[in-house]
């Protein structure tokens, strides 16, 4: 058996052990809150293949993607503006810092008053929570653009639009993506929270509703589905990031998305290791500034 297979088995050992351990324990313990795996599996098949997909999963995903896209648009455009103008940036700082520190779920009642209990109030909450990491990372990215390139572009009288599109945005790209990855997680969380309050469909509603009617295995299927959703979306995001920023990783000789700050770009925690298929952390000290 060669080392790769051994390593692969090693990585799978613990998850399998946890699953088997839980299965054995749950089927013997007959706990009300922790039903055995086969029961959860059966309910999962009944509910999510594909009975409630249209009624709960699709509305949730629609709201989340709408909110996320809006956050990206707003975050990047406002971030460009604030990143390029020192006066605006200074003037906006206290307001941005305050809004960012405000836990987004606290705004749900406000959003309900503003938009009623429809989709738009949920999208609004998602945007209010998810926009900050993108905004702050865009500002940092824009401020970190090589000033020689900017001076050069100015000397050659390259128009502003082209300067933004060809110099600033690509240079800020890695930072923007680091922010977008953080925001993705926040968007999922806020999707669930906003659906738990004043909603009639969606995954968050489903999970809370099952719990309130003590339908425990059904509740677990919802939790597991949310977990899988979070994992899959994160994975998809990394694929997209790797493709869009392929030039950047190639330039830096990195295997995967790394942190945006120059200090850590060369010494990313995984930089010393061989090209690993695992997502390299966007979590290390630099990029996390805008986190939640």
């Amino acid at each position: 058996m060669n080392r790769r297979v051994l390593g692969f088995l090693l990585e799978l050992a613990l998850p399998v052990a946890v699953l088997v351990g839980y299965g054995v324990w749950a089927s013997r313990a007959q706990s009300f809150y922790f039903p055995p795996l086969d029961e959860i599996g059966r309910y999962f098949g009944e509910l999510w293949l594909f009975d409630r997909v249209g009624s709960d999963l699709v509305p949730s995903l629609t709201r989340m993607s709408a909110g996320y896209l809006a956050s990206v648009l707003v975050g990047v455009s406002v971030g460009l503006l604030l990143g390029m103008s020192r006066v605006l940036r200074t003037a906006a700082e206290p307001v941005v810092e305050f809004l960012r520190a405000l836990p987004a779920p606290a705004l749900i009642p406000f959003s309900l008053l503003l938009f009623g209990s429809g989709d738009s109030s949920k999208i609004f909450v998602i945007v209010l929570g998810a926009v900050w990491p993108i905004l702050l990372n865009t500002i940092d990215g824009v401020r970190g653009v090589d000033s020689q390139q900017l001076d050069m572009a100015r000397a050659y009288r390259i128009p502003l639009a082209a300067r933004i599109w060809r110099i600033i945005l690509p240079a800020a790209g890695p930072r923007i993506f680091a922010g977008m990855r953080t925001s993705l997680a926040i968007a999922i969380i806020l999707m669930v929270v906003s659906e738990m309050v004043a909603s009639s469909n969606g995954l968050g509603y489903f999970v809370l509703e099952q719990q309130r009617s003590f339908a425990i295995p059904e509740m677990w299927t919802g939790i597991i589905l949310l977990g899988v959703l979070g994992y899959v979306l994160n994975w998809l995001f990394l694929r997209v990031e790797r493709r869009v920023l392929a030039w950047h990783f190639g330039l830096k000789g990195l295997a995967g998305p790394a942190t945006g700050r120059t200090r850590s770009a060369g010494r990313s925690p995984f930089g010393k290791r061989r090209a690993s298929p695992s997502p390299t952390p966007a979590h290390s000290s630099a990029s996390s500034d805008g986190e939640v």
């Binding site: 090693l10 990585e11 799978l12 050992a13 613990l14 998850p15 946890v18 809150y33 940036r89 200074t90 003037a91 906006a92 700082e93 206290p94 810092e97 305050f98 809004l99 520190a101 405000l102 836990p103 987004a104 779920p105 606290a106 749900i108 009642p109 406000f110 008053l113 503003l114 702050l136 997680a185 969380i189 669930v192 929270v193 738990m196 995954l203 968050g204 999970v207 809370l208 099952q210 719990q211 309130r212 425990i216 509740m219 939790i223 949310l226 977990g227 959703l229 979070g230 994992y231 994160n234 010494r267 925690p269 997502p279 952390p281 979590h283 290390s284 000290s285 996390s288 500034d289 986190e291």
Partner: protein, 291 residues
């Protein structure tokens, strides 16, 4: 993090480096002082513009008064609340869940992270589990937590511990893995015993990562505490926001939202200040000041 790097620049001369520069920096300091003043003016005017715009929108009816009372009413309510006891009790309830959760998560995550960070086999074994648990939307566990722990402090603490465990753990792992190999090998070849290597090499070099992990975790924990109060009605700030809303006491609702934001802001500032003070010696902080 501060939006504006110059904010830290202006505070830099207060440090020890200033002594050496004292004679040459007279005019420079005046310039910085003016700039500092101008920035302060800009910040204050930024806040004022937003507040005035909101006030104007509400007074002129651009934003309906039914759901957006003038911001002055909100502030009157805010001061009334701040003078009374109940507000501080609610803040205390929210913060007690927050503090307990963070403390427990730190106590659990730091040793685990040090173990996983320094042992490649252990890290590989747990990698899949960590990668799977991390992106799971934390709030999906609220119903489970309510079932198991009921509606109270335990539920909040459980949620916060479960969720903030991961960012702290990951930061500790990366921090421990990021020890400069030259330093590590030097310490080893000089024959430093294992516990001294750990205390003098590994821990200091991982410290900034751990600090960042704690800062991230503190923000997440506050979000979770407020969410738990809001969704399931555990006592605290979130619940009082909902109560104010259902009583149609809008100024109070907005005042409480502002209070929640201020709590988050103060927490963030406090963590940043502690980080800056404790890690003054570390390059990442030095670089930030020198930018």
């Amino acid at each position: 993090m501060s939006l504006e790097g110059t904010a830290t620049v202006t505070s830099a001369p207060r440090g020890t480096a200033r002594a050496n520069l004292a004679d040459t920096s007279g005019s420079l300091r005046r310039l910085l002082g003016q700039r500092w003043l101008r920035d302060l003016g800009l910040k204050v005017s930024g806040v004022l513009v937003v507040l005035l715009a909101l006030e104007a929108c509400s007074r002129t009816g651009l934003l309906s008064r039914d759901w957006f009372p003038p911001i002055t009413d909100t502030y009157v309510e805010l001061f009334k609340l701040a003078a009374g006891q109940p507000l501080w009790t609610e803040i205390g309830r929210t913060l007690s869940g927050w503090g307990l959760g963070i403390a427990l998560a730190t106590v659990l995550a730091v040793p685990c992270g040090i173990l996983l960070g320094s042992n490649a086999t252990a890290y590989r074994m747990t990698r899949v589990v960590i990668e799977f648990c991390r992106p799971v939307p934390s709030v999906a566990l609220i119903p489970l937590a309510v079932l198991v722990y009921g509606v109270g402090l335990e539920m909040k603490v459980f949620l916060i511990v479960f969720v903030t465990f991961w960012p702290i753990l990951l930061q500790v792992i990366y921090g421990v893995q990021d020890v400069d190999p030259v330093v590590r090998d030097t310490a080893r070849s000089y024959g430093l015993p294992a516990h001294a290597r750990f205390l003098r090499v590994t821990l200091p070099s991982a410290a900034p990562y751990i600090a960042t992990g704690l800062r991230i975790a503190s923000a997440i924990a506050l979000v979770l505490a407020v969410t738990a109060e809001l969704v399931v009605g555990a006592p605290g700030l979130g619940q009082s926001i909902v109560v104010a809303q259902s009583n149609a006491n809008l100024p109070r609702m907005y005042a409480l939202i502002i209070v929640t934001g201020l709590v988050g802001w103060v927490i963030n500032l406090a963590f940043q200040a502690i980080e800056r003070r404790l890690l003054k010696w570390h390059p990442s902080q030095r670089q930030e000041v020198a930018q």
